[in-house]
Assembly symmetry: C2
Homo-oligomer: 483 residues x 2
């Protein structure tokens, strides 16, 4: 009897079907590093191939998980129930359309590749997740990725004008287009965005581009502690300035980052401004942008509003010096592992005026669990990355981490915050969906899923089914973005 | 036997139930002026009242249409199948929260009232539909209203951070919150926005505000014809300037507006700048805003890019003079009735580089039907208001209008445009949904509707059921926004 895989071989060329150990392993995990091997990785050359795969997947009730680079941190790209992986990372058509200040992209184009192409036309694609050099647009649309510049420029959703692709049931559809307004029935475009590959397969997108900011100004402000840094961030808001970046780093993050650099590149430490290294401060890293006169005026307003209480301040005198500051910032994620071998990586979001009680709650949890909880993030939009670090081999630590993360999420929701601002839910945050959403909200989400995917084939196990991530070992593997 | 209305009287106070002829007539129509009388207009004082109404409506399968001011132009607020109208225009709580640059509003607050309250805190609510003084936020969220400043500031959707209200099945739910990022499962918030009251009842919203632009600069540029004006708009885009407003008015619109002013206020015509009146030009009305230095720099760039081919140009020397220009612009909608007693009012949207062929198509249709088709709109986002004017008492005109609008929509879709940019579908545009969307797209929209509203009670007859608007007489009535 013909297996589903046999039937696939009837409709796809051999090079589109990868059942190798290496290929299926690579497609078995994302940046959460939780591995579930699929039966096959499928790389169709065109839409006809996707349609053929969907037809068979529906017929055989075969789990089908779409994948780009796999840089998601939540397990959103992990084929939780095995089945087939649809790898669209090779779909790299990209066309910038200058006259409409937009671009058509296939899902495998990376965020960085699009922004580079836009730059050649004096345009920019603002969403800038930390993974921009690797993350694909298909994946960042599916997860509604955010980034550092969210407060001024918004997130992925704000740049998606049109999507095309397949319903789970196999029909090719389009939502929106190369159009700056669209009010033609239910907004399925924005429902697809952030649905993490469970409601459809994106095979093309029309993205809005903006005139490229020509100037950037960067400054580093050091404060004695977190409340002082957060008060400075509030003072900037009160001045009605929205910097393009307003990054906050708590003292534990700064200490871990300095420890990492001491260990791996002590010679580079001399290039760190004193504001970074003195007395292990809490930091604000600020960027303003736009026309030179505007970037200068906004930076002056920032320094006036936030600089008075800073223990140290440092304004980057050149683009190179600014780049040094960002290099250090970019090493923060890696530096967390100075504090434990396993990371629970949360990206909670709070109302802008709830940041102070939120950091008091983190301080309490840190004391009560005894675990490091280095926290940094985007103070201008209230989206913070809390890392609960522990040693997975130590059962007591693991219990404390599991307990700590639940209490963290409870605190966030009690402060009218949300369990995810930009990473999404995937597998890792499913246990907290019932904190975020009431039963009626979850029930209507389930009915929406059924309305799109009656056979439950697309990316099963995500979003709506609680998965106890801490009970599942992670896989040690070197991924393309690891330093 | 107790009727549904009797049972309502058991759960609502008498003053919340209006069955008067005047009350039900007022609630029978919106700005489309197509009247369908409901059995009762319900004005509950609080959420408990809404819940009680929904329980009865579900039990009796009673059509329930939510309503604000009724300024929708599409029949979205018309109770097409009778039943009950839920009038939330009296729900007017409004609280600006300065520290989070946001506001909580109940659905009856008008767009203008919110912007005025924001202004007191140095903030602004940018979406500015023409109906802003009357339109409620509940209605503008339900229809995802746009406005003149869409290209620079986006539409209603871009300012909605959180919604709360009821599922059609009666459960109270919240989507998002006072949060600038949110990635926690399916984005029902953005599905509700623009669903025209068919998927839920909005009883509260958290809206994002922005620092209020302190300066505005206004200019009027006159061109010999439409292609020249559109070429100038393209030149502005090519300069990578996005003005806060870039309004285009075709020659037929300008002629109709002058005719109206000649008729009703000839003494005021002397205040019109010559750029408006000379040789019946096609016009661009441009506004830049921001800090004074930025507004000035952008206006200089606009004039440099677009001014060279203008037959006349006029820069407003004062805020009062600018206000005169906008008063004239605001009379355009009314002026259409100089050309016929009935209006088919479309708000199509085109890719930014398809404006020239679009106006060629309008010119062809104008010739072929012999009907006036005055057109104006937002050249920076491609959203144009086409008005097919005819005399309803003339059957030949009516046939030509019906034929003309269908061919217009076919042209729009052939140019990769959309049948509605900011008004939505309601009743009036339902005949064209099958031009815009394929069968699979419409089918999944229907399944979404069923997932939310299995008893089909909320605002039935809208969006997805073709309604031949031209076969139904409009009602002559003076509405609050009529001049």
């Amino acid at each position: 009897m013909e297996t589903p895989l046999d039937r696939l071989r009837d409709v796809l060329p051999p090079e589109a079907i990868d059942t190798s150990a290496e290929g299926t392993f690579r497609a078995s995990l994302d940046n959460l590093r939780l591995s579930r091997c699929p039966e096959a990785v499928l790389r169709p050359a065109d839409e006809d191939g996707v349609a053929a795969i969907l037809a068979l997947a529906n017929e055989h009730r075969m789990p089908l998980t779409t994948r780009g680079a796999g840089s998601a941190t939540t397990g959103a790209a992990t084929p939780a129930d095995g089945g087939w992986v649809l790898d669209l990372s090779g779909w790299k058509q990209l066309a910038v359309r200058e006259a409409t200040m937009s671009a058509f992209v296939q899902p495998g184009v990376t965020v960085k590749a699009l922004d580079n192409a836009a730059a050649e036309a004096g345009l920019a694609y603002p969403p800038d997740p930390g993974s921009a050099t690797h993350a694909t647009l298909g994946g960042t649309i599916a997860c509604n990725a955010g980034g550092l510049r969210g407060a001024k420029y918004g997130v992925t959703r704000d740049y998606v004008m049109g999507l095309e692709g397949f319903l789970p049931t196999g029909e090719f559809v389009r939502w929106g287009g190369n159009l700056r307004k669209f009010a033609c029935g239910y907004n399925i475009r924005d429902l697809w965005i952030g649905s993490e590959g469970t409601l459809g397969i994106i095979t093309g997108a029309v993205l809005r581009l903006i005139p490229r900011p020509v100037a950037r100004r960067t400054a580093l402000l050091a404060y004695s502690d977190e409340p002082a840094a957060l008060a400075a961030a509030a003072a900037i808001r009160k001045r009605r300035v929205i910097p393009s970046i307003l990054e906050f780093l708590d003292r534990e993050t700064v200490a871990a980052t300095l420890r990492l650099w001491h260990r791996v590149a002590p010679d580079k430490l001399t290039a760190f401004p004193r504001a970074w290294t003195a007395d292990t401060p809490a930091l604000l890293l600020v960027e303003t942008d736009g026309e030179p006169v505007q970037a200068d005026a906004e930076m002056a307003a920032v320094l006036e509003a936030a600089g008075t209480h800073a223990a140290h301040r440092h304004t980057a005198a050149s683009a190179e010096e600014a780049e040094t500051l960002w290099t250090v910032r970019r090493s923060c994620s890696q530096a967390m592992f100075e504090l434990g071998d396993t990371k629970l990586n949360e990206d909670v979001v709070l109302p802008l005026d709830a940041q102070e009680p939120f950091f008091q709650a983190i301080e309490r949890l840190r004391r009560e669990t005894g675990l490091p909880m280095p926290t940094f993030g985007h103070a201008a939009d209230g989206n913070f990355h809390v890392h609960i670090m522990y040693d997975a081999g130590n059962p007591a630590h693991r219990d404390k981490a599991r307990d700590g993360i639940r209490r963290l999420m409870e605190q966030v929701v009690a402060l009218d915050g949300a369990i995810s601002g930009e990473h999404g839910i995937g597998l890792a945050k499913t246990p907290f969906m019932a904190l975020q959403h009431g039963a009626a909200e979850l029930a209507v989400m389930r009915r929406v899923k059924e309305a799109f995917d009656p056979n439950k084939i697309l990316n099963p196990g995500k979003l709506l089914e609680p998965f106890e991530i801490w009970n599942h070992p992670r896989t040690k593997v070197r991924l393309p973005w690891d330093h």
